[in-house]
């Protein structure tokens, strides 16, 4: 049953599990060899269970799929490292694995930020298209404004409204261009 969905959730759960294993192995080793042996079996079973529960949020996202495979592999390697060693060695290894997991998370976040920047550029394309369309309209509206007279009070009202619309469009155009250029 997959119930740990997405890279963030998988990383978080594995980190929590490694902390839990470290604590359980420590307390079991203090309680004697029988408790320690039982803990070794219980904790390794939890790691098999973990790899069964992970799943990418988007199965079509090759990067996410690959990163979750890396997390599963880490859990599998940790499981093998628990057997046949003393509690202190196991605890040391857990700490090493947590730091390795943190590094993986950092690298994935950096990559995600980079992807997001690229995606933002593509997302802004329709905004640019809209601005272009509006710019063409602005020219037509400007021509219309020129045709109106200041002497006629009704025409003057329309002219003033056109001016405020033009100011708003110019502000929108500037804001959109700034956004585009900053991405």
């Amino acid at each position: 049953m997959s119930d740990i969905i997405g890279f963030e959730a998988c990383t978080q759960e594995l980190r929590r599990l490694l902390d839990e294993i470290e604590a359980n192995i420590k307390s079991a080793s203090e309680a004697g060899p029988d408790a320690f042996h039982t803990a070794v079996l219980t904790e390794t079973r939890k790691l098999v269970d973990f790899t069964n529960r992970t799943e990418p949020e988007d199965i079509f996202d090759a990067n996410e799929v690959e990163n979750i495979r890396k997390i599963d592999q880490t859990a599998d390697e940790v499981r093998r490292e628990i057997f046949g060693d003393s509690a202190n060695v196991i605890i040391g290894r857990m700490q090493g694995r947590i730091s390795q997991l943190n590094q993986l998370e950092k690298a994935v976040r950096q990559q995600a930020a980079e992807n997001e920047r690229e995606a933002k550029k593509i997302r802004l394309i329709p905004v640019h298209n809209a601005i272009d369309a509006v710019s063409e309209t602005v020219e037509a509206v400007k021509d219309g404004k020129e045709a109106l007279s200041d002497e006629d009070p009704d025409e003057a009202v329309v002219k003033s409204k056109i001016e405020s619309v033009l100011r708003a469009i110019t502000a929108l155009d500037k804001a959109a261009r700034d956004l585009f250029e900053s991405s």
């Binding site: 390794t44 495979r69 690229e118 640019h128 585009f180 991405s183």
Partner: protein, 343 residues
């Protein structure tokens, strides 16, 4: 007179106490050895469950081969069969070892004779689990096997003259731990072959179609086109951004035309990419389930090693042998295999 009588009574009660202590200690020493048949039965179950794990890997190999959906050839199946046959020999030897310990314990502690019998059982076990160059395992397993054999032989010469059953079982504890680690490594090695097989299936669907018949099985050409579209999208975006920044209408128009073509291209490629991703997802799902089964098989063998330590303790303390952890490990493998079959 009265005083002498009292002294006599005290002496008599002291003697009684000493006799009681002697009888008590003798009775304690003769407490019956525990029944280890549960350990033997659980070992047989472990063997059967782990054997089923091998069947899973083999099924994966054969079904992909039959469906012609893998780049792996028959040699892969042969390699797996050779390596797995060695693992099965190890599991058979674990059962024989458990049976021999059961017989030795049932026969009662016969001092050095029992000690020698335990030593011989351990030696037979290591002789059966050792991996030679012909078994198809990796160099790592071969190396581990050589180390394990050397260690156990060394231990054998040191402890063959153990004076009691308890001493022998205790002294050979590290040997059994080493042997357990070797069998675990053999199973992990089967996992490596399973991984290779999965990768061969992924490679197969990612290769370009060779004939019109396998156009719906291989997606290499579509993946290539998809990547080309991605690259074009990147170039178009770059051109558009630069066009806007430098106010170059021609670049902007060119970029927009490219983007429009890209949309058409993506619509054509998308259904085939979705098929490819769905097939890859199904392979990855089987990979995940298979790896869990192999992992739980490794755990079961480790549980066997730990249960052996508990057996040694139970013999020493004349307490019942617990095999709960072994039973749990067997149940876990069976559950995972069931899930695999439902995929």
């Amino acid at each position: 007179m009265m005083k002498r009588y009292r002294m006599g009574a005290v002496n008599a009660s002291c003697r009684g106490f000493v006799i009681l202590l002697l009888v008590g200690s003798l009775l304690g020493g003769c407490r019956t050895l525990p029944d280890t048949s549960g350990y033997t039965a659980a070992t047989i179950q472990v063997k059967q469950a782990v054997a089923a794990t091998g069947d899973v890997v083999k099924e994966e190999l054969l079904s992909a081969s039959k469906a012609q959906a893998t780049t792996a050839d028959d040699e892969t199946v042969k390699n797996f069969e050779a390596a797995w046959a060695a693992t099965m020999r190890s599991l058979d030897a674990m059962v024989v070892y458990a049976q021999s310990i059961e017989q030795i314990v049932d026969a009662g502690n016969k001092g050095a004779e029992s000690g020698k019998a335990v030593a011989d059982s351990v030696k037979n076990l290591v002789d059966a689990v050792k991996v030679d160059a012909l078994t198809g395992g990796t160099a790592k397993v071969f190396e581990l096997s050589a180390e394990t054999v050397a260690f156990v032989y060394g231990e054998y010469s040191k402890h063959v003259a153990a004076k009691s059953l308890e001493e022998a079982l205790d002294k050979f504890g590290p040997s059994i731990a080493k042997i357990t680690a070797l069998v675990q490594a053999q199973i992990a090695d089967a996992g490596r072959l399973f991984d290779e097989q999965i990768e061969a299936q992924v490679q197969f669907i990612e290769m370009p179609a060779q004939t019109p018949e396998d156009a719906d099985k291989r997606y290499g050409n579509w993946i290539k086109r998809h990547r080309e579209l991605d690259k074009t999208a990147e170039q178009a975006t770059q051109l558009l951004v630069q066009g806007i920044q430098n106010n170059r209408p021609n670049d902007i128009a060119k970029a927009k035309a490219m983007i429009s073509d890209l949309e058409t291209g993506r619509k054509m490629v998308a259904p085939r990419m979705a098929e490819y991703e769905a097939k890859k997802h199904a392979i990855r799902k089987r990979e995940k389930a298979g790896r869990s089964i192999i992992g739980s098989a490794e755990n079961a063998v480790a549980a066997w090693g730990i249960a052996h330590q508990q057996l040694v303790k139970a013999v020493n303390e004349r307490k019942p042998v617990s095999v709960e952890s072994l039973t749990a490990a067997v149940i876990e493998i069976r559950t995972l295999i069931q899930r695999w079959r439902e995929l």
